[in-house]
């Protein structure tokens, strides 16, 4: 049962344009969502996160939008740069309470290629 889905295996964008990566989830108990970027032969690098009490979080060129009613989140990268080319993973977790760090459920990833 794939609780976090990234339906686009790959995305190609021109340098300077907007990249939009999408993620859907099925578990309504998820209350925290993260995006990670992964280069080959490296571990995932944390990019940006959003709590379920918000619908938008912005950090520089990266913005994450959350639509709880649709169980959908997206990552916008503006402007896209060639160095952004990597696999992007969406991840979600459900609170255990007490400030505990919870297991992350990952999607299968989207390979972003930013063309110069």
């Amino acid at each position: 049962d794939q609780q976090v889905k990234q339906n686009s295996p790959s995305l190609s964008v021109q340098e300077g344009r907007i990249s939009i990566l999408n993620c859907d989830y099925t578990n309504s108990m998820f209350d925290y969502f993260l995006w990670y970027k992964k280069y080959p032969a490296e571990g995932p690098t944390f990019l940006i996160s959003i709590s379920s009490i918000k619908d938008k979080n912005e950090d520089g060129r990266f913005t994450v939008f959350l639509n709880k009613s649709a169980k959908h989140l997206s990552l916008h990268i503006v402007p896209s740069q060639p160095g952004d080319s990597a696999v992007y993973f969406c991840a979600a977790s459900a609170a255990l309470g007490g400030g505990a760090t919870n297991k992350l459920i990952f999607g299968t990833g989207t390979l972003l290629a930013v063309q110069p």
């Binding site: 255990l96 992350l104 990833g109």
Partner: protein, 115 residues
């Protein structure tokens, strides 16, 4: 500020053997989680250690076991290796009660190949 480190980088084993992977968390972190990433898939949660105890466990058999030491570093042990255990094993560290984010930071991983 040292990030999450893992050793070894690569490992080749044969079916039936046992393997131990090691992880040192980011400075100031007290919690270590282990994930398995098969080719073309997202990371899958194996288990999490805090205060030297297993707090949570994913759907992995008992062949997968772990340990956390007083200095917060951790080991992942896999017994009776199967071909299907070939994967990238990722360690992530975090700080319990570190705030609303409780973000997990990943190491570079250990690539395990089982022949």
């Amino acid at each position: 500020d040292a990030g999450v480190t893992q050793s070894p980088t690569h490992l080749i084993k044969t079916r039936g053997q046992q393997v131990t992977l090691r992880c040192s968390p980011k400075s100031g972190h007290d919690t270590v989680s282990w994930y398995q990433q098969a080719l073309g898939q997202g990371p899958q949660f194996i288990f999490q250690y805090y205060e030297e105890e297993e707090r949570q466990r994913g759907n992995f058999p008992d062949r997968f076991s772990g340990h956390q030491f007083p200095n917060y570093s951790s080991e992942l042990n896999v017994n009776a290796l199967l071909l299907g255990d070939s994967a990238l094993y990722l360690c992530a560290s975090s700080l319990i009660g570190g705030g609303v984010t409780d973000t997990q930071y990943f190491g570079p991983g250990t690539r395990l190949t089982v022949l």
